[in-house]
């Protein structure tokens, strides 16, 4: 995607504010924007959530269908996460198969969910070696104002948390809730100059040099991380990000818990 040109005036304004420890929308560097979550908004999905993170809006839906397990994990269900940056969400998003940004987004969200063991895939076995539940999480950006990583993670987690295994639809027993063990929460920060800010909006993302997403579980343990962007982060930066990820992760878990 080609990025729009940001005016020098806007860039300077953001930098000047950061030097004073504040941001264009009056947030402190560690504040998230307002989070709102609507779950079960799509009846045709087995679980769904529409999440607003400030002006960024994302929808995620879960589909659970019977399928064949992988040969090396005959008793485990399958979990797949996909994401699309559809052109509805921003003038720079283009239609077509997912590009590298969408693939990275999906994989980072997937890693947090998978590595945290959020979904107990062992409980998704129907007939060992033959049939298991396959759980597809599909994420669509609807309105993009920065930090799709955390918005997409929240949407996926909330959709899974409320998902129902549709046993009756496929004649595979009763409907029952998807077995969920914890809530992996990601916290993304970007580096602008020497500052690290949480939950960047679009403009802040545009002028940032590096990005770090850290996903924690209910115990505050780290389950997934991803550094992005062409710049670098120092060891001190990393340490600060990890502290904030634990603190902010706990706050967000309370909001959606």
């Amino acid at each position: 995607m080609s990025n729009p040109i940001m005016s020098e005036i806007k860039r300077d304004h953001i930098m000047n504010l950061l030097a004073e420890g504040t941001r264009v929308d009056k947030r402190s560097p560690t504040d998230f924007r307002k989070i709102s979550v609507e779950t079960n908004c799509i009846e045709s999905a087995d679980g769904s959530a529409r999440v607003k993170l400030g002006k960024t809006e994302v929808i995620a839906g879960v589909k659970i269908i019977p399928g064949t397990p992988f040969g090396d994990t005959p008793t485990s269900g399958v979990l797949t996460t996909g994401a699309e940056l559809i052109p509805m969400a921003h003038p720079t998003f283009e239609s077509g198969p997912p590009g590298e940004d969408a693939i990275e987004l999906a994989r980072v969200v997937d890693r947090g969910i998978r590595e945290s063991g959020m979904v107990d895939v062992e409980q998704l076995c129907i007939v060992p070696g033959e049939e298991v539940w396959m759980c597809f999480v599909d994420i669509y950006a609807l309105d993009y104002d920065g930090n799709l990583f955390d918005a997409a993670n929240l949407a996926a987690v909330c959709a899974l948390k409320t998902a129902i295994i549709p046993g009756e639809q496929y004649g595979k027993g009763e409907n029952k809730p998807l077995p969920v063990t914890c809530l992996p929460i990601s916290v993304t920060e970007v580096k602008i100059g020497n500052d690290l800010i949480v939950d960047p909006n679009f403009d802040e993302e545009q002028i940032s040099s590096a990005r770090l997403t850290v996903t924690t579980d209910d115990n505050g343990n780290f389950r997934a991380m991803q550094k992005g962007g062409c710049g670098s982060i120092t060891l001190d930066d990393l340490s600060l990000c990890l502290d904030r990820a634990v603190e902010k992760g706990a706050e967000i878990r309370k909001i959606i818990g």
Binding site: I42, S44, S48, P87, M88, F136, D143
Partner: protein
């Protein structure tokens, strides 16, 4: 259209499984201006269909070779989200969605004053969040509200609805069961000021008499949809924004 069922779609009193008469459409809800980034947007619910439409432009036309030196082109993309149907839909365009995108673009082209913006593109994105028969009509209905919301000059707003046939009865606005087990489906869109037809498809089996009746029902219902479309647009500017304060 091909399935068979023992389900009674229309009972002896002429009532349908969702309690409608033959000539009733499903409940319709339309909201204009629901997205921030898009130049215009709309959300439409028709029964269990949930559809978002967004408009960008007129803006520079990409890819360039599609530019027309005398008028803007309308590029519509209709997309069903993976969780919008009972089996998961594989993401990405298929032949069905490409065809629907094309006929919706053409239907809108009739009313938009494209000659005002040579070389430009007006991009219309339709996302089906939840599908329950009639998504192309819901999509076109949403798209024309989004175009008007974007301030695009146009002669009129285009409403769309389907009529069809199930259990041998001509019915307005088929739901999923009627569409699956019925005998015909006729989606249609019109320009309300002239009653010109800008979208028409048909599949199934109908006599001339049944078809005429279906068109009559659908055109009449299009005018009802049109009123709801206009209300949604006017409501956006008559309802005073109540929010106060500096944040957000």
């Amino acid at each position: 259209m091909s399935g068979h069922t023992d389900m009674v779609l229309v009972d002896e009193n002429g009532m349908r499984i969702d309690g409608r008469t033959a000539e009733e459409h499903r409940p319709i809800k339309i909201e204009a201006g629901v997205l921030n980034n898009a130049d215009g947007s709309a959300y439409v619910e028709i029964g269990k269909n949930k559809v978002l439409a967004a408009v960008y432009g007129p803006r520079e036309c990409h890819p360039r070779h599609l530019q027309n030196p005398t008028k803007a082109i309308i590029q519509c993309k209709y997309n069903m989200q993976a969780f919008s149907v009972s089996d998961r839909k594989r993401p990405g365009p298929d032949r069905r969605s490409i065809e629907i995108s094309k006929i919706i673009s053409e239907a809108l082209e009739k009313v938009v004053l494209t000659e005002l913006y040579p070389r430009a593109s007006i991009d219309v994105y339709i996302e089906i969040l939840q599908a329950n028969a009639g998504t192309r009509c819901a999509g076109l209905t949403a798209a024309s509200v989004a175009l008007a919301d974007a301030g695009i000059p146009m002669r009129d707003i285009v409403p769309a609805i389907a009529a069809g046939k199930a259990d041998g009865h001509v019915l307005l606005d088929l739901n999923k069961e009627e569409d699956n087990y019925g005998q015909a489906d006729v989606p249609i869109a019109i320009v309300p000021s002239t009653d010109e037809i800008v979208l028409l498809q048909m599949d199934g089996n109908m006599t001339r008499e049944e078809f005429d009746h279906a068109i009559e029902l659908a055109v009449d219902a299009c005018h009802q949809v049109y009123d709801i479309q206009k209300d949604a647009l006017k409501k956006r500017y008559s309802a005073k924004p109540a929010k106060e304060g500096a944040d957000e």
